[in-house]
């Protein structure tokens, strides 16, 4: 009888342990509200949120309606990363580009880049070859707008609470006169509280 109780207890412990061990990797919706939130990183939902807010602000400003040619051609300038992390700013910029393209207001050039470096060198080379073969000297379509920006990080601590702020700044400049016709700044702020006991 005693051994039966021991066996039952062992089975219960085993069942409990298997429940805990069953917590493996799983798929989550990338745009869902069950994604992981961390303090010292810009999470996927933060990039999407910032891109959404920036695109909304730019579209609402109405500056894209003032471009003489529609959709307006936009080039991507320097997006500086002033945070302590190594991040690819395309996590923000690509989302903005896709959204603006879908809006029908903007197309982004991939053959005009900073210091003459194009995002798509093959397209740039092919255009040059085409000009050489056909003998046509049609000028490249130059961007009307240039998008530049900065991502900053600020960390403050008060007792057991740590607060991190990520600031996203973007400017849209008219290439012909160098005037910033749209600018905005959005922030993501996160707090974490360390437990009173523990490490």
């Amino acid at each position: 009888m005693k051994s039966f109780h021991s066996l039952a207890l062992f089975a219960v412990i085993l069942a409990g342990a298997s429940c805990v061990l069953a917590e493996g990797a799983k798929y989550v919706d990338t745009s869902g509200n069950k994604t992981i939130v961390t303090l010292n990183q810009i999470n996927p939902q933060d990039w999407a949120n910032m891109a959404d807010q920036m695109v909304g602000s730019l579209l609402e400003s109405g500056v894209l309606e003032r471009a003489p040619e529609k959709p307006a051609i936009m080039a991507i300038s320097r997006i500086s990363n002033k945070t302590q992390m190594q991040i690819d700013t395309d996590l923000l910029i690509k989302k903005i580009r896709v959204a603006l393209l879908k809006s029908g207001k903007v197309v982004t050039t991939t053959t005009v880049g900073i210091g003459g470096k194009s995002e798509d060198p093959l397209a740039a080379d092919a255009a040059e070859q085409q000009k050489f073969v056909t003998g046509e000297n049609t000028p490249d379509k130059l961007p009307f707008y240039s998008l530049s920006g900065k991502i900053l990080e600020d960390k403050v601590k008060n007792g057991r609470v740590t607060q991190v702020t990520y600031t996203f700044q973007l400017s849209l400049t008219t290439v012909k006169d160098g005037l910033a016709v749209w600018e905005d700044e959005k922030q993501v702020m996160k707090q974490d509280k360390k437990p009173a006991v523990g490490w």
Partner: protein
């Protein structure tokens, strides 16, 4: 002889005062009427959320020529600050959902008894309709 209970009582009052959260939000605005809310259709599966966070209405306009912009006005009817998740989905005139690279669930903080407006702009001119999802 002084009653030792009074200093202790005072300390307790001070401690409890430090624990209380700020009260409701007082507001002031223009007396002229703002544009009316559009007619909406609601599906409530969480009556507690619907009671605590009341949807006062939705306004709709067009920006940048042809892009749909909506604003949902919420009221936190409770005596405490609340955080809700929301998501805006856009549909075209065939009722199909328009995918967006910037879409997804967002977080909004609503102060106690505060009225808050949440705005969203469709990224596609083909968006003619919308669905707003709210979750605790």
């Amino acid at each position: 002889m002084k009653n030792p209970i009074f200093p202790l009582l005072g300390l307790l009052v001070v401690t409890l005062a430090g624990c209380t959260t700020p009260g409701g939000v007082n507001t002031v605005g223009s007396a002229t009427p703002t544009p009316a809310f559009i007619q909406d259709r609601r599906v409530v599966t969480d009556p507690y959320l619907a009671s605590d966070i009341r949807v006062l209405g939705i306004r709709q306009t067009r920006v940048s020529g042809d892009l749909l912009k909506i604003e949902i006005v919420l009221l936190n009817t409770t005596g405490s600050d609340r955080q809700i998740h929301y998501k805006v989905e856009w549909q075209d005139n065939a009722g199909m959902t328009i995918a967006s690279p910037t879409g997804g669930w967002r977080v909004a903080e609503l102060k106690s008894e505060e009225q808050t407006a949440i705005a969203a702009i469709a990224i596609s001119p083909s968006a003619t309709d919308f669905t707003i999802k709210l979750q605790e």
